[in-house]
């Protein structure tokens, strides 16, 4: 962190390198210094603290994928991890690295947003601070981290009873970045929706919560019609980007489709969990 402070914007922290090194090779990023975080063992642990799962920023995605506590305490994260690239990417890529890189098509930022995760950052000058996921992703490949800060850990609260989650994405090929992805968490109480949350990737520069859908579903019966209506409503307000892989209309269509599907599956899992 001292190095980051010293070199400011010219220095970049190096976590797994799966996003940063290609930028170096393509000469799109030109840091004068790289600060290798791999040697910091405190960043590489997964611990359970009461109702929280605390994942060190340098935990490799593949390790998290295989970890029993992740499956138990953060099922949505466990569902998301195998969707990230390929095993050779996940053997090096880190949880913190992915979150800090904030690719709009990446899975982990949407998961963090949906789970209201707390992201803990630290700098040499100002010490530690906690940033909620809602405040963390502020723009296209941009987070709330200052140049001299690194992410040290992610804190995820275990889901309350009666909660189910699901994540689904549409990519051109297996393992590619999603064109659009949706993640949903549904909690049922007495057969009705007590809490429904859904996040989207690939429709904006940051992961977005589909709040229109969430509002409509609050207290509603968990029926297919309800999910379809909520998804359609939420999709209307989207202006997704167009690129080589799909038009804006296509992404909007996928957003509605995936919201509907993940809400339905999350509700089904919530029923099973009860």
């Amino acid at each position: 962190m001292a190095l980051l402070q010293e070199h400011g914007e010219d220095a970049r922290p190096l976590a797994g390198g799966q996003s940063l090194v290609p930028l170096l090779s393509l000469r799109l990023a030109r840091p004068s210094h790289l600060v290798d975080l791999a040697g910091i063992s405190e960043l590489g642990t997964i611990v359970v603290e009461g109702d929280h799962l605390v994942i060190g920023a340098m935990v490799r995605e593949r390790s998290a994928e295989r970890h029993g506590d992740v499956r138990r305490l953060a099922p949505l994260l466990a569902q998301a991890l195998p969707l990230i690239g390929h095993p050779a990417i996940r053997s090096r890529g880190t949880i913190g690295g992915s979150l800090s890189h904030a690719d709009p098509a990446a899975e982990l930022p949407a998961v963090a947003l949906l789970l209201d995760a707390d992201l803990v950052a630290q700098s040499s000058a100002r010490g530690t601070r906690t940033i909620t996921a809602a405040d963390f992703f502020i723009g296209f490949f941009t987070t709330a981290l200052e140049p001299d800060e690194i992410l040290t850990e992610v804190r995820i609260h275990r889901p309350p009873p009666g909660t189910g989650s699901a994540i689904e994405e549409v990519a051109r090929r297996h393992g590619d970045f999603a064109m659009v992805g949706a993640a949903a968490v549904v909690r049922l109480e007495d057969g009705k929706i007590a809490d429904a949350r859904v996040a989207l990737t690939g429709v904006s520069g940051v992961p977005v919560r589909a709040t229109e859908a969430e509002t409509v579903l609050d207290g509603a019966e968990p029926t297919e019609e309800a999910f379809a209506t909520a998804a359609e409503e939420a999709a209307k307000s989207l202006s997704p980007p167009a690129d080589l892989h799909g038009s804006s209309a296509y992404r909007r269509h996928l957003a509605a489709l995936l919201m509907r599907r993940t809400l339905k599956l999350a509700a089904q899992r919530a029923r099973e969990a009860a």
């Binding site: 290609p22 090779s25 095993p87």
Partner: protein
């Protein structure tokens, strides 16, 4: 640019070098250590031709800096055969006509080695998914999948990475 000393184990032998921080592990293996078996197909982490094993796990060597590999135990394609005798995976690939131009081959062999170490008896769908991060332009993949099935079934015992 300043250089850093790197010491690591490659194919069971201790190796060292002095590198710029920006030098990739792939370039270090190919240029500094003369191990040209690891190939570069894209240099941005998509094609998988540069795959090696780092502490037993598959990694794209074009996405690692050599300095990140300090102290690591690396296995490359050159480390699969022993005294010029091909290992059972290589034999199985030979018998299955697995490859054509051979450029993607080292990456596939290392990824398959990792796959079989974790899952000694994979089904076809599992094989295809595990190999979906390695691109081949010549074969259409079927011959490679056949080779993996052959390697997995040859005598039932798993393929161990040599450390």
């Amino acid at each position: 640019m300043s250089t850093f000393d790197v010491e690591l184990t490659v194919n069971g032998t201790s190796r060292q070098g002095s590198v710029e921080p920006r030098r990739t592990l792939a370039d270090f293996l190919r240029e500094d250590l003369g191990l040209t078996g690891t190939h570069l197909g894209c240099e941005h982490g998509v094609c998988g031709a540069c795959t090696v094993l780092v502490n037993g796990e598959p990694a794209r060597s074009c996405l690692m800096l050599a300095v990140q590999a300090r102290g690591a135990d690396i296995l490359t394609v050159e480390g699969l055969a022993t005294d010029g005798v091909m290992n059972p995976l290589q034999q199985a690939m030979w018998e299955s006509h697995g490859f054509q131009c051979g450029f993607c081959t080292p990456g596939f062999l290392m990824q398959i080695t990792a796959l079989l170490a974790e899952n000694p008896n994979p089904g076809e769908a599992e094989i295809r998914e595990a190999l979906s991060g390695n691109l081949c332009r010549c074969t259409g993949y079927e011959s490679i999948v056949n080779g993996v099935l052959r390697a997995a079934g040859h005598d039932g015992s798993p393929i161990e990475p040599q450390h």
